[in-house]
């Protein structure tokens, strides 16, 4: 269809976004609360202006009555609105707090932003570009990294958004409530292809999701992909899994405290592991030498780092050496909250 401007015109005129997650409903209520307050205030002020302009126009009211200001009035219209705003603040803060704290049983999916696409990795090894499949009714936590510039992962139907800052792991979570297909946008300007960095989120019923996920990744689970990379990059020559090699044994390392050679102790979380892969000299484990492991910065992509970390996570301390290797990871993952920067040291 064409309009007078001679451009094709699509007929849709949506006025309300789809509400497809638990947060979306909650935040939408707050949105309409603030809207209601705003509309009331706007109408009030407009009405006063129109009324005064009409009633006191010069033709009717040639002589202005000079009025001194009123402290009581000033205080009233300062404090009352502020009290209403405190409600907005508290309500917003409560929802924000919830958004910052994913439930422990959230399933974890990994997202890498790259000019200009979203790469998605599932624990079972499936990889996708610009498409995210999630089951309805389960909390989902995204752990996100950026290969280059700042991106921002946003799903308007879920009312969620978080920037993906290079050098960080960022995360967000949501619980989809409605089966369907929803937009996925990058909302931090990232260069020429910014508008192309869009995709779809597919919310599926449990059965459909199980069917979709059953195939798994062509190259095995994420941890198995990590294992392959572990061999490919030659990590296994030094990081022996049965005995202590030239480099620390990685078995059972994940989320455990590690003694460093400068006396500090760090927790081997995702951020630590990522840093130790990309910049191995940044933190040296006590009893080991620096400069043994080559620097992998620029050699390993963020996606591969995610796979390697998944492999390290899968190395349970109890598994006998002969059966080493990752188990099929369940879809629910250990919740983790990456620290803001790769290497806070304090």
């Amino acid at each position: 269809m064409h309009n007078f401007l001679m451009v094709p015109l699509y007929g849709d005129l949506p006025l309300f976004p789809p509400i497809a997650s638990k947060q979306a409903g909650e935040i939408n209520s707050l949105y309409w609360f603030i809207s209601a307050v705003s509309i009331i205030m706007t109408v009030l002020i407009f009405a006063c202006i129109v009324l005064f302009a009409w009633k006191y126009q010069r033709r009717r009211h040639a002589h202005a009555t000079q009025i001194e200001g009123s402290t009581r009035l000033e205080l009233t219209w300062s404090i009352l609105p502020f009290l209403v705003m405190l409600i907005m603040f508290a309500w917003g803060a409560k929802l924000y707090y919830a958004a910052e704290h994913p439930p422990k049983d959230a399933m974890e999916i990994f997202v890498t932003g790259k000019q200009w696409m979203w790469k998605i990795q599932y624990p079972n090894g499936i990889r996708e570009i610009n498409a995210l499949h999630v089951p309805v009714g389960h909390p989902v936590k995204l752990t996100m990294a950026s290969e280059d510039v700042i991106h921002s992962f946003s799903v308007p139907a879920f009312f969620v958004r978080h920037d993906v800052i290079p050098g960080h792991y960022d995360s967000l979570w949501f619980m989809p409530t409605k089966v369907g297909r929803y937009h996925l946008f990058c909302t931090e300007y990232c260069g020429n292809g910014h508008a192309a960095m869009i995709g779809w989120v597919y919310v599926m019923s449990d059965e459909d999701y199980a069917k979709w996920a059953s195939g798994g990744g062509a190259q095995g689970s994420l941890a198995e992909q990590g294992q392959a990379l572990f061999q490919q990059f030659g990590c296994a020559t030094c990081h022996l899994l049965d005995t202590q090699g030239r480099c620390p044994n990685l078995r059972g390392l994940y989320n455990k405290p590690v003694q460093l050679n400068d006396g500090r102790t760090v927790i081997a979380d995702d951020a630590y592991l990522r840093e130790s892969i990309l910049d191995p000299n940044a933190k040296i484990v006590a009893g080991f030498e620096p400069n043994v492991m080559p620097n992998f910065k620029g050699q390993v992509s963020e996606e591969n780092v995610i796979a390697l970390i998944a492999y390290i996570k899968s190395l349970s301390p109890t598994t006998p050496a002969s059966q080493q290797g990752p188990q099929q990871r369940p879809l629910s993952a250990t919740p983790l909250k990456g620290p803001a920067l790769a290497s806070h040291t304090r």
Binding site: L9, Y10, Y189
Partner: protein
């Protein structure tokens, strides 16, 4: 208002600051604040035309979901629009033109404290403008006006350095203007012109100047660090060596959030003058309006983190910034209430400046209230980076500041040029601007609520109808801005002689000749009354 005895018989060959000399040199090397204001007015109008043309162009692009231009062209257009409009139009708009012209007169001084620095600030502005225009001509810059690292420092292939240096110099020009105003307002007030007798326009500009001198240097050093990083290919915002791109945002918004108040406070000052004059009434709650300007200036420096709620800023910081952001809404609300109350029992007339003031109050109210959505944490997460934000700040910047600028220009045009413009045309264009503005930006609130991200050159088709509406509005708005340029120029030659006080306003500026003589006052005036003395107080409320 003041004891000035210089009413002279108006003759055709009255000497004033405009006709005192005619050479190029007398303009380019002038130290007269009024001439510098005119130089600034010409320069910012040129920049406004460039920035506005970019806006019209990229609005055209958004007529169809696929976009009419390439992504590259679109990105450069919106970036240039942002950079030029923010740093080369909005920041200097009222301070460097109207305030430059009026502040010395309003406080009863012969000139600003440092006239040569005032001229220097214009040259620095022009120098910065040329840098930026050079960047435009060479192919533009595509970082957006925010220059976020590491995109701007490492990844962008556009003329970031030229644009950043342009902004750097514009910043210095802004600092020099602010410094001049502060010293002038402190030290150059005429006898009897106490702080509590200052026109609210002066108060607003004083608050603005504080922000300019306290915030702008931080922008300057941040852009320099960014430039070094771009040159050396390594730097403190570089995540490859452990740098944190969020630190750039901290430093950038430490200036740029207060800067949005640089872009609105002077407008609030203008509205106080206009509303009082055309209601023939003293401003309701003078002390509160003056104080609220200062409160805004101070509070504006502790809310910058609300631009970073979704970046990974600490949750505790976000909570504090959110609360403080609500707090800064209070003084803005005080102003709106007081302007409205000023009209109560006034004697209201509807000349063009007053129409713009009505527009300002209405649009600023909407702009301010939609700010609440972005101060509240959860709704900011929802709306951050969408067209909602674009609509919100255009309601404040364009619906607010540009409306106030136009209102002020229409209000003081007779004083600046000595001529009246066409009342019919000016009312018509004020109406066009109001309608065009709302048509352009109101649909963007809905677009933002639907989730359409900003800075997209192409978009999903369901957003098209609203985008077409917005583009149609932009065309109306463009025409609304073109008409004044024509009738203002026309009035210079053919406009009626305005007389010294065409509006019957109070204030020192209305008691001197139009246009004023070079040193404003032949004798320094002595002030004996408070501002807006349209009559003795007859009624006290509560």
């Amino acid at each position: 208002m003041a004891t000035i005895a210089q009413e002279k018989p108006e003759t055709a060959e009255q000497v004033n600051y405009l006709n005192v000399s005619h050479t190029w040199k007398s303009w380019l090397f002038t130290t007269d604040h009024k001439r510098i204001a005119v130089l600034y007015l010409i320069s910012i109008t040129l920049m406004f035309v460039v920035g506005g043309a970019a806006a019209v162009a990229f609005r055209m692009n958004l007529l169809v979901p696929e976009g009419l231009f390439s992504a590259e062209t679109y990105n450069r257009l919106f970036s240039m629009h942002g950079i030029i409009m923010v740093f080369f139009f909005l920041v200097p708009s009222i301070p460097a033109t109207l305030a430059n012209f009026l502040i010395p007169i309003m406080v009863g001084a012969k000139d600003l404290a440092f006239p040569r620095i005032n001229l220097l600030s214009w040259y620095v502005y022009v120098f910065g403008g040329l840098f930026t225009l050079y960047a435009v001509i060479r192919g533009g810059v595509d970082t957006g006006w925010t220059f976020y690292a590491p995109y701007s420092s490492t990844y962008s292939n556009s003329y970031v350095l030229a644009a950043a240096f342009g902004v750097f110099f514009a910043g210095f020009s802004s600092i020099l203007t602010g410094l001049n105003f502060i010293v002038t307002i402190h030290k150059m007030r005429a006898p009897g012109m106490t702080w509590s007798r200052l026109p609210l326009f002066v108060w607003a500009n004083y608050a603005t100047s504080l922000i300019q001198i306290l915030g702008t240097p931080v922008l300057a050093i941040t852009l320099l660090l960014l430039a070094f990083e771009r040159i050396a290919h390594v730097g403190i915002f570089d995540p490859n060596i452990g740098g944190d791109p969020i630190l750039f945002q901290h430093l950038f918004w430490f200036y740029s959030h207060p800067a949005v108040y640089i872009m609105i406070l002077p407008g609030m000052g203008v509205i106080s003058e206009i509303v009082a004059c055309f209601s023939r009434k003293r401003v309701f709650g003078y002390n509160f309006v003056a104080f609220s300007s200062m409160a805004i200036a101070v509070l504006s420096f502790v809310v910058w983190g609300h631009h970073m709620f979704v970046t990974g800023e600490s949750m505790y910081s976000s909570l504090a910034f959110s609360l403080l952001s609500f707090l800064v809404a209070v003084p803005s609300a005080i102003k709106v209430f007081n302007w409205t109350a000023t009209m109560y029992k006034g004697s209201v007339s509807f000349e063009t400046p007053m129409l713009y003031a009505f527009g300002f109050i209405g649009l600023f109210t909407i702009g301010g209230l939609t700010g609440l959505f972005l101060a509240s944490l959860a709704t900011d997460v929802e709306l951050h980076g969408t067209y909602f934000v674009v609509a919100h700040f255009h309601y404040v910047m364009v619906g607010g500041m540009v409306m106030a600028f136009m209102g002020g220009l229409h209000f003081w045009w007779p004083k600046i040029t000595g001529r009246m413009y066409s009342e019919a045309w000016s009312k018509f264009s004020a109406l066009l601007v109001f309608v065009g503005f709302n048509l352009t930006f109101f649909p963007q609130f809905i677009l933002g609520y639907l989730g359409m991200p900003r800075r997209y050159h192409a978009y999903p088709p369901e957003f098209q109808v609203l985008n077409v509406l917005s583009t149609a509005g932009a065309s109306v708005l463009g025409v609304g801005y073109l008409i004044p340029m024509i009738y203002f120029l026309y009035s210079l030659k053919y406009g009626e002689k305005a007389g010294n006080n065409p509006w019957g306003a109070t204030g020192l500026e209305w008691q001197i000749q139009s246009p004023p003589v070079t040193f404003n006052f032949e004798e320094t005036p002595t002030v004996t009354e408070e501002a807006y003395n349209y009559g003795p107080v007859e009624e006290v409320v509560g």
